[in-house]
């Protein structure tokens, strides 16, 4: 059986990639994509811990939590894409750095 740490390493790599995308990409949509990656990295973690620590006792909490994360991710993407579309209609841009009207 594959050791637990491999999954955790995979999850960490995926999270870092997502984070990197969020911090560095100019396109807002790409930032959204990065966020999706980070969410899925978290999901891998959740599933992994559930499978190794709680599944033998017949507990289904981990799966349900992962499903919740999917729902939240889907909702978040829907809202985020809607915002980006709306911004694009007004400003004709989706570059995150240009959207700095909240500058102090």
């Amino acid at each position: 059986m594959i050791p637990l740490s491999w999954f955790l390493i995979l999850s960490a790599i995926l999270f870092i990639i997502g984070l990197f995308a969020v911090i560095t990409r100019k396109n807002s949509i790409a930032i959204l994509l990065g966020i999706e990656l980070m969410l899925n990295a978290a999901n891998i973690n959740i599933i992994t811990f559930w499978r190794y620590l709680y599944a033998p006792s017949g507990n289904l909490d981990g799966i349900i939590l992962a499903l919740m994360v999917f729902v939240v991710a889907a909702a978040e993407t829907a809202v985020g894409l809607g915002l980006i579309l709306s911004v694009y209609r007004r400003r004709k841009t989706v570059v995150a750095d240009d959207l700095d009207t909240l500058k102090g």
């Binding site: 969020v22 911090i23 560095t24 930032i31 995150a96 102090g104």
Partner: protein, 727 residues
Amino acid sequence: MLSLNSLIWLIPLPPLVAFMLIVLLTNKRKGLSHWIALGGAGLSFLVSMIVFVKAITTRGLAESPLGSAINWLPAAEKWLKIGVVVDPLSAVVLFFVAWTELMIFIYSIGYHNYGQPAGKEDRAGLPPHGAEVREHGKTHKVPSIEPMYARFFAFISVFAFAMLLLVLSDNLLTLYIGWEIMGFCSYFLIGFWYGKDSARRAAVKAFITTRIGDVFMLLGIAALYTLTGTLNFREIFHNPETMSMLTNTLSPVFHLSWAGLIGVLLFMGTIGKSAQFPLHVWLPDAMEGPTPVSAMIHAATMVSAGVYLVLRTFPLLSAGWSPEGALTVPMTAMAVVGAFTALFAATIAVAQNDVKRVLAYSTISQLGYMIAALGIGAYTAAAFHLVTHAFFKALLFLGSGSIIHGMEHGVLHTGEHVDPQDMRNMGGLRTKMPVTFWTFVAGGLALSGFPLITAGFWSKDEILSGAFNGGHLAVFITLAVAALLTAFYTARQITLVFLGQPRTKAAEHASENKPVMTVPLSILAFFAIVIGWVGIPKAFPGLGHFSPAWFQTFVGLMLPETAAEEGHSPVPLLTSLVVALGGLALGWWVYRKFKDAHAKDPLEIGVKPVFKVLQNKYFVDEFYQKYIINPCLWFADKVVYQFLDKTVIDGALHGIAALGMKLGNLLRFGFDLPVVNGAGDGLAGGTRGLGGLLRKVQTGKVQQYMTIALASIVVIGLIILSFVISS
């Protein structure tokens, strides 16, 4: 039905009501104003006469006088009562006050030219200049109506109220109130023509001079109240305990008894009010007022009030005195001051040229007579002379007003610039103004004591015989010489004014006045003659047998014990005959040839230096100016104003102000600005600076936030981790 006792209360009030009505309502209506004033005076005249008749027909009036009293002011447990009283003294005084006041009210209508047109150049505060009238195609000047006609009647009304209040008072307090209201009215009426500088000065002088006496009088009243607890005349004088206490207790001043001290203080009030030496200076200057004022205030009533006061308080002034014994201190003072004033003022009157000033000095002299008479204990004689003098002096003043008025008419008619009051400009007015002439002669003879027929003779003879029989020879001689001078200056005045030929054109065109002025003169002339007949002494040779000597008996009731009937020595009688006739003859003889208005006075040719001194009134005014008024002014200016006020008080105040400013500045620049303001500004500035600093972090770029958040988490994570590891 009003009882008689409450009727007395109504005597002083009508003139007061008239005053208020005129001042508040009718001061624009001249005719209505004088009718109101006349109505007020007439009403109190009528009531006065009813009360007078009732008083003289009441038996035992002195023991149980008419009158009543009411509670007025609560003073501790007691009430201060005020009341009215009519006893023999106030009855006779009321009689002459009521008559002279009414006559003067009527006379004033004519004197102030009621019914004449208003002059174009007349201004309030100045005597009327006359108006131009076109008649039969010719323009000529006639006297014009007084611009402040209503105001005059208002003031003499309130004056009449005050005099009646004073006469009817049964206590010193209301007497003093009336006394002071009269002083105030005197001030206003002397300064009635306030546009004239001399009138203003005279008004202030009169007010301040009488005030000096009044202050002492008030002290006397206060002392009396403190000692006895009452100011009611009867309660003090008819209470043997109080009187003996006052007589026998020593006061802290000069070893005088309290009665003596209070007597002297009250007498000082009289010195001021009755213009006795040395406070006589105000009365001649008071002639600046309109002539009816001179007649009323400065001859018949207000100056009489001073004598009335000493008559009223005579039991106190003479406390401890018996007709044979030595005079008390206040009586001595009165005898000396009175006799001296009588002679002093008479000598000045000889050298005056202003028709009113002669009479003013004559008034001072005659008041001195009364004071001297009272000083030697001749109570009824003093009261008698007070009454007769009021009538004939009011008559003489009104007569002089009539002369001036007639002369002014002549001056306006001819346009000649002469002083209508200067006797040297007159002459020959006998035929021009016959009524004035005859009445003036009646008054003049009464003043000089023309024997048998005139009132002045009887009262003056009483005083002289009182002085002689009382053994006060010095007083007797002084008064006799004064009487001689009185007759002399009266003859001089009559001769200069009425006899001979007119010395100016104005005098030639002088004309007799209207009946509204001459009728009061005639009535007063009647009294100037006959009023003396009620007091012919029993001891007088011949006539005395037929005389009831009513006055002496009636007023004599005022004294606790009636003085013994004194033998009528022929010496004073002969003396008064000689001085009266001799003075009159001499005066006529000296001035009979005075022909030219600019000629020197015959006396001036005879005894020049003396005449100069007399003409300048012994330089008393100059003396006061130099040694009293100027030092006072100097003191007021240099010490009080410049030093005390400007330097000390202002200096202190400015010092305090400067200190306050300094302290304020110190706090402002030392504490307020740096600390309080600094803290506030610093807080605001710091917040602003910090905000400016922090806003740089707020870039609005989401990814930077994210990076910072990440970095923070990493740092915080590392810190926590280091703690976890180290523990």
